[in-house]
């Protein structure tokens, strides 16, 4: 069982930061909804408020880690230009995708959207974290702000979901690979 170093960084970007962020979104949306909806809201204790502040800051850190590793670590490997005359494009995912009409859409639509839309997630959730830290329980006194915070958190979830979906599908069609191989475990001898 082994993995290449590029595969490991792609895994860290997608599963370590991106997927964890998407999972965290459900908790944040629920807690922010509780704060927003009078029918189901329960009084936020100081401890719950503190926990949600830490939770939102952690989410913002995850979102930034996902886009920064994506743009500056994984994306350069994805868009690398092969030397003239290269026939095997397996180490050049972007070129591999656009070389086949059946897969070119994963780049021209998927990656082209993903590489930009993903950034709306950290921008939105950073704003949500800031507003919640600044206002805390006082947010229940601001009807419009409460609704907007929930809306931005949902938009952040949508942006991360689009990026995550296309990231997973693109990496399935043309995986980022290469670099030193890391051996995780050795199977039993046959």
């Amino acid at each position: 069982m082994d993995i290449t170093s590029r595969g490991l960084f792609t895994l860290l970007h997608g599963m370590g930061f991106g997927a964890l962020y998407l999972l965290a979104c459900s908790g944040a949306l629920l807690e922010l909804y509780r704060l927003t909806c009078p029918a189901v809201s329960s009084e936020f204790t100081a401890g719950q408020t503190r926990f949600l502040k830490v939770y939102l800051v952690t989410m913002a850190a995850l979102a930034w880690a996902a886009v920064l590793t994506g743009a500056y670590v994984v994306y350069p490997w994805y868009r690398a230009t092969p030397p003239m005359g290269t026939v095997d494009l397996s180490m050049y995912p972007q070129r591999l995708l656009i070389s086949n009409p059946a897969t070119t859409g994963w780049h021209s639509l998927g990656m082209e959207w993903k590489e930009h839309v993903a950034w709306f997630a950290p921008i939105s959730i950073t704003m949500v974290a800031f507003v919640f830290i600044r206002y805390g329980r006082d947010l229940v006194n601001h009807k419009h702000l409460r609704a907007a915070v929930l809306g931005f958190a949902a938009a952040s979830f949508l942006a991360a979901g689009i990026a995550g979906f296309f990231g997973a599908m693109i990496n399935k069609a043309a995986p980022v690979q290469g670099g030193p191989t890391i051996h995780i475990s050795k199977g039993p001898e046959k």
Binding site: P38, V67, A71, Y75, H116, W119, I123, N141
Partner: protein
């Protein structure tokens, strides 16, 4: 008419809404800047070249860096101006969401390709 939140303070808000409105509008402006720059870099070769801050990442590096700078500068500026004020939050929030919505649309390639 929706019922009032039973946990809202009877004394009213302790903070003005200006600071939150500044954060929301600047998030909308930052996102929209990113969408506009991505469109510009896609259509104009000189802008694409200008935004190529880090060659391995290409124009995406410039598009996102400039958008983040615009977002943070706008945020600081609006925060300074609005932090102690009560502003027309509903209208500002609508503008922020329109900008965010347009950003989603403009970065979607079939729509971006119309320009």
């Amino acid at each position: 008419m929706s019922p009032a939140n039973p946990f809202a303070s009877s004394k009213g808000p302790a903070l003005t809404n200006g600071s939150a409105a500044a954060a929301m509008l600047s998030a909308g402006i930052g996102s929209f800047t990113l969408a506009l720059l991505s469109l510009a870099a896609d259509k104009v070769a000189s802008i694409k070249s200008l935004l190529n801050f880090y060659k391995p990442t290409g124009p995406l590096s410039g598009v996102t860096t400039v958008a983040i700078v615009v977002w943070l500068l706008t945020w600081v500026l609006l925060e300074v101006v609005w932090t102690e004020k009560t502003v027309a939050a509903a209208r500002i929030i609508v503008i922020a969401f329109v900008l965010l919505g347009l950003s989603f649309l403009l970065t979607f390639p079939p729509i971006g390709d119309l320009f």
